[in-house]
């Protein structure tokens, strides 16, 4: 009996150890890039490299942020991400709500359409759209890129919002309608506030998706580069501190955002069957 307990204890300890090792596998590379980004520029050229940022310095990050085009690219990235977020919410939330609340003919067909567009190769969309955007005089603009990113993010928004609304009890909305609200008011005053945390997670995910997207960004823009598009195009001519600081600036938002949306990730990717 005692040995069984011991074995269980050892197994538990091993599980924790493994969990920590896997966590280090994820965190260590980010930490090392962070060390590089927060060292002085000349420390980046020293070898062997140091494993703590001492002296701690924002010199390298500042150098990156002051480099040509970077501040404009960051602004563009934020504008594109915010526009994408606005468009997806405007178009996607009603669809998500419809899937969650109504039984209608064609519902499963629509779900299938959404699920299959979720994995649609962006490469196929970007190149013909770039050609068309040039014809329509929409090329190289943050708006057209935001439309492209909306296409990319829309399936996720619809799937998340539908599962978020499905988790808001229907009775509450019905109670509101018996108390004199029409259906739209019931949605606005009851379902929407309750769904807000889930919707916020969907918005953060959309922001990250757009902030990170590089293929469409580099194809669809020339002067109005977003941050990943700019960094990619100057990658082979830029000095090491620029690369390291640029990499860190690009990944920093995800460190914060993933914390807030970790619980909702299963709604974004998880649902295999309804």
């Amino acid at each position: 009996m005692k040995s069984a307990a011991l074995r269980r204890y050892l197994r538990r300890a091993f599980t924790y150890l493994l969990a920590i090792v896997v966590a280090l596998w994820v965190l260590a590379p980010i930490y090392l890039l962070g060390v590089a980004a927060f060292s002085e520029q000349n420390a980046i050229y020293t070898f062997p490299k140091q494993f703590v940022a001492s002296p701690f310095s924002t010199d390298t990050i500042a150098f990156f942020l002051r480099s040509t085009g970077v501040s404009k690219a960051i602004t563009n990235s934020v504008i594109v991400a915010l526009l994408t977020l606005f468009f997806t919410m405007l178009i996607g939330t009603p669809a998500g709500y419809a899937i969650a609340r109504f039984l209608f003919r064609g519902r499963d067909a629509f779900r299938l359409l959404i699920v299959s567009t979720r994995a649609f190769p962006i490469v196929i969309l970007s190149i013909p759209l770039a050609v068309s955007f040039i014809e329509w005089d929409l090329y190289d603009s943050v708006y057209s890129l935001a439309l492209m990113h909306t296409a990319l993010a829309l399936p996720f928004t619809i799937l998340t919002t539908s599962s978020v609304f499905a988790s808001v009890p229907r009775d509450l909305e019905e109670a509101a309608t018996t108390l004199g609200c029409n259906q739209f008011e019931a949605f606005l005053r009851v379902a929407l506030p309750l769904a807000l945390p889930g919707l916020a997670a969907a918005m953060l995910f959309t922001f990250v998706l757009s902030w990170n997207e590089v293929f469409a960004a580099v194809i669809l823009t020339v002067r109005n580069r977003t941050l990943p598009a700019l960094v990619l195009t100057v990658l082979d001519v830029s000095p090491t501190p620029y690369k390291f600081a640029g990499g860190f600036v690009m990944l920093a938002p995800s460190l914060v955002f993933m914390f807030f949306i970790r619980k909702y990730l299963f709604n974004l990717w998880g649902r295999v069957t309804k």
Binding site: L18, P94, F110, V123, I124, P128, F215, I219, F244, F266
Partner: protein, 286 residues
């Protein structure tokens, strides 16, 4: 219109904007992509863009590297993702923190992940610093040399395994959560080892999740390009990277569209293979 009538129309009105948007932004580019790839300047049909694509010296290496990476990366990712998912489901303390850490890479872009691994593998990078500090090397080893394809591919595989395993983990955790506890308890009652439980109970029940994850990961793997540019420079080339080059550097959208069409065909073919190879008796929707 009557109230009842409205009730019937409402869902369709709510779906209308996204349906229109999807038709414009998915169907139109697909048709346009085929047109770009198959149309000649005089308006007739042609295969000359495909000829240009195939005869380009970089084409065969690009196809080989793309397929090779898919074949190596996907099994590595699935083993790692299954380990992560089982750890998340092991009811550890702080499991929410582990979930956060394991899902961080999901929010990291291809390009940033490529830079992270470039920082590790470059000649004066962290890996060489560690090896020298440990006394295993005297002078830095050049991992990312153009002549050293094995190391180039290994570095990209590690970077992709690091970056893109999170998605698979999330899908598998969701799948694990839907496995009734009774099944695992029953396995315990019959004295199954943890290994047996994974192999005989969990994996068979995870088949639908595995199928979805495989389809998504393979389609996404055909589009990878920024990781490879960041880690290897021009040391390796891939189909999506070629599409980018043809469009941006050679200014030839037709050949770029031909490459995009090829990526599309590969994506559809791999989806069919997974749907057929992992089919389940009951209807399992995607």
């Amino acid at each position: 219109m009557t109230r009842r009538h409205w009730q019937q129309v409402t869902p369709y009105l709510l779906l209308l904007p996204s349906t229109i948007f999807i038709l414009i932004f998915f169907s139109y580019p697909m048709v346009e992509s085929f047109a770009l790839a198959f149309r000649a300047d005089d308006g007739g049909w042609t295969l000359k863009h495909f000829e240009a694509m195939v005869t380009d010296v970089a084409f065969v290496p690009a196809v080989c590297t793309t397929l090779l990476l898919v074949v190596i990366i996907i099994p590595v990712q699935f083993v790692l993702a299954l380990i992560m998912a089982l750890l998340i489901q092991a009811k550890l303390k702080f499991s929410s923190i582990f979930l956060y850490i394991y899902s961080i890479p999901l929010g990291i872009s291809e390009l940033a992940a490529g830079i992270v691994w470039f920082a590790l593998f470059t000649e004066r990078g962290y890996l060489n610093s560690i090896l020298i500090n440990l006394g295993l090397l005297n002078t830095p080893f050049i991992f990312l040399s153009y002549q050293n394809t094995v190391w180039l591919i290994s570095a990209v595989v590690l970077a992709e395994a690091w970056r893109a395993t999170s998605i698979v983990m999330i899908i598998l955790v969701a799948g694990l959560q839907s496995i009734p506890n009774e099944y695992l308890e029953a396995a315990d009652v019959f004295g199954a080892s943890p290994w047996d439980k994974v192999w005989r109970v969990i994996l068979p029940l995870l088949k639908p999740s595995l199928q979805v994850a495989l389809i998504l990961r393979t389609i996404l793997a055909f589009q990878v390009f920024a990781v490879v540019l960041a880690v290897t420079g021009r040391g390796l080339t891939l189909l999506a990277a070629e599409a980018y080059l043809w469009y941006n550097t050679y200014r030839n959208p037709n050949v770029a569209a031909a490459l995009a069409t090829l990526i599309m065909v590969l994506s559809i073919a791999s989806t069919m293979i997974y749907l057929w190879g992992l089919r389940t008796p009951e209807e399992q929707s995607l």
